[in-house]
Amino acid sequence: MTVAPVAIPEAPAPPGRIRHWLRSPVGAQVTAAVVFIGAWQLLTLIAPRVPGPIEVVQFLYIEITGGSHGGIVRGQFFQHFAITLQRFSLGLLIGFVGGLFVGVLIGVSGLARALLNDTVLVLLTMPAFVWAFLTTMWFGITWQAPVLTVAFTTFPFVAINVAQGVRAITPELKHMSTAFEVGRSKQFRHLIVPAVAGYIFAGLRFAIIVGWNGILLSEWFSGQAGVGFRTRYWFDANRYRGFVGWVIVFIVFIVVVDRVILNRLQKRAFHWRDASEADFIEIEERQVGL
């Protein structure tokens, strides 16, 4: 008797080194950055008025180290950045606290929802440049204008997200808290805030992006110092490498805040989700006889 040979499928060939590199998170990010810089460099060949990456890096080096840009103009990175950061932090704090308060109110009270929900939605649709204009008209060229621009642009993003989060809290946990007569302040700290943490982070992430845009516009229109002012200064001076340099500072700030601060805070707030140790529990179950 003869037995027909069975075809054994060949194992797929291992991916090549380049493909393996591209599939790794670091490899993909580095590749994307290299491609972007390459495309930017190519663009300068087509459009000579666009400053190239090396030119911009040289500008930023002088601006950061306080060196001379030629003539009497010197780099002033830290002065302007610190001013903007102060204004932004204060505006964000006002918008965040106000949004948290109003969001919780809308989430827990039907009356507050009826009174405030539509107003917050209207505020949400207002572009940042409208607030930048309005605050400049109200307060003139003062520090209040950029601070309030940030506060007004961030507030509705936080409020809407927090309200959604509060409404999503399971009624069973509220019922449990009522049955055990847990105080309102304790419920707020241990039930409401952790339950809406995901929504708070989502709101905060959007708020930081729109608030940062808002402060750039406000300082562009009405500032005498700050990142927005300095960006306009180089634009008005027809020095586009300065303009692009500050735009890059602007973008890097958002990326750093998101990746370094928000991601870490989020990981810390949700570390309970990662705590899943099924094998350990099975052993424990046997030990206690269940």
Partner: protein, 250 residues
């Protein structure tokens, strides 16, 4: 000694659909429970058992009638065990125990003692997601006992668990109750469970009326396999069949 007085209590919910009839969850019941007794409220689904506990705990308000839950001259302090554990998933076991207390270190020692009594002394720093359903429910039971309530309300606490886990938890509950002798109102649809645990069984019928009120005079702790317990279970199940002849297929 806690006292529960229910006087001509009714609870009607609005119609679930437009143009439908209102739903009568509880229909004009009067009842008194007093002393360190374990009382089960038994009945088929939808007869108002859980609604009764929700009214006693203040989560629901009655449509008519009065309820009072007192300890001497003051309102009684309540503990509650739910069908599911209802733990805060983002807080550790010990933090969950402390969520319902307001007394710092002394409270922590007490909470630890009750966790120890249900065999969970090793779980203080673990999150609920790391525990099995049975272990979570034991935390829920320990939490309710740890507030040292005058009256403990338990709403089908073992109905979501498998039979072996439920049996083990019933034994834990009997031990805890024997050690503390709290007044307990225990809602269940399981007659076997009710007979094993209770001094008194109140049987509710559909429409939220009292069908029977049975005193069980057997010493604690009881085992489900005890012949006296089994005989009583069979007798009460027989009465249940009298209550629902219409639902029995011809």
């Amino acid at each position: 000694m806690a006292k529960v007085a229910i006087d001509r209590l009714s609870k009607t919910f609005p119609p679930p659909t437009k143009g439908g009839d209102p739903v009568v969850a509880i229909g004009d019941i009067s009842l008194e429970v007093e002393g360190n007794v374990f009382v089960s409220i038994v009945g088929p689904s939808g007869c108002g058992k859980s609604t009764l506990l929700n009214i006693l705990s203040g989560v629901e308000t009655p449509t008519r009638g009065n309820v009072s839950v007192t300890e001497g001259e003051r309102p009684a302090h309540l503990g509650y065990v739910f069908q599911d554990a209802r733990l805060l998933p983002w807080r550790t076991v010990m933090d969950n125990m402390m969520y319902v207390r307001d007394d710092g270190d002394a409270g922590a020692a007490k909470a630890a003692r009750y966790l120890d009594m249900v065999g969970l002394s090793h779980t203080h720093e673990m999150f609920p997601g790391q525990l099995s359903g049975g272990m979570q429910q034991r935390v829920g039971i320990a939490r309710a006992f740890s507030v040292e309530p005058d009256l403990l309300l338990m709403d089908e606490p073992f109905s979501h668990l498998d039979a072996i886990t439920a049996r083990s938890l019933r034994d834990h509950l009997q031990e805890l109750w024997s050690a503390t002798r709290k007044t307990v109102l225990f809602v269940t649809h399981d007659v076997v469970e009710a007979v094993q645990l209770s001094d008194r069984i109140i049987v509710l019928a559909p429409g939220g009326r009292i069908f029977d009120d049975i005193t069980i005079d057997l010493p604690h702790p009881r085992r489900a396999a005890d012949p006296k317990v089994a005989t009583l279970q069979a007798e009460i199940l027989g009465r249940f069949e009298e209550m629902q002849p219409a639902s029995t297929p011809a």
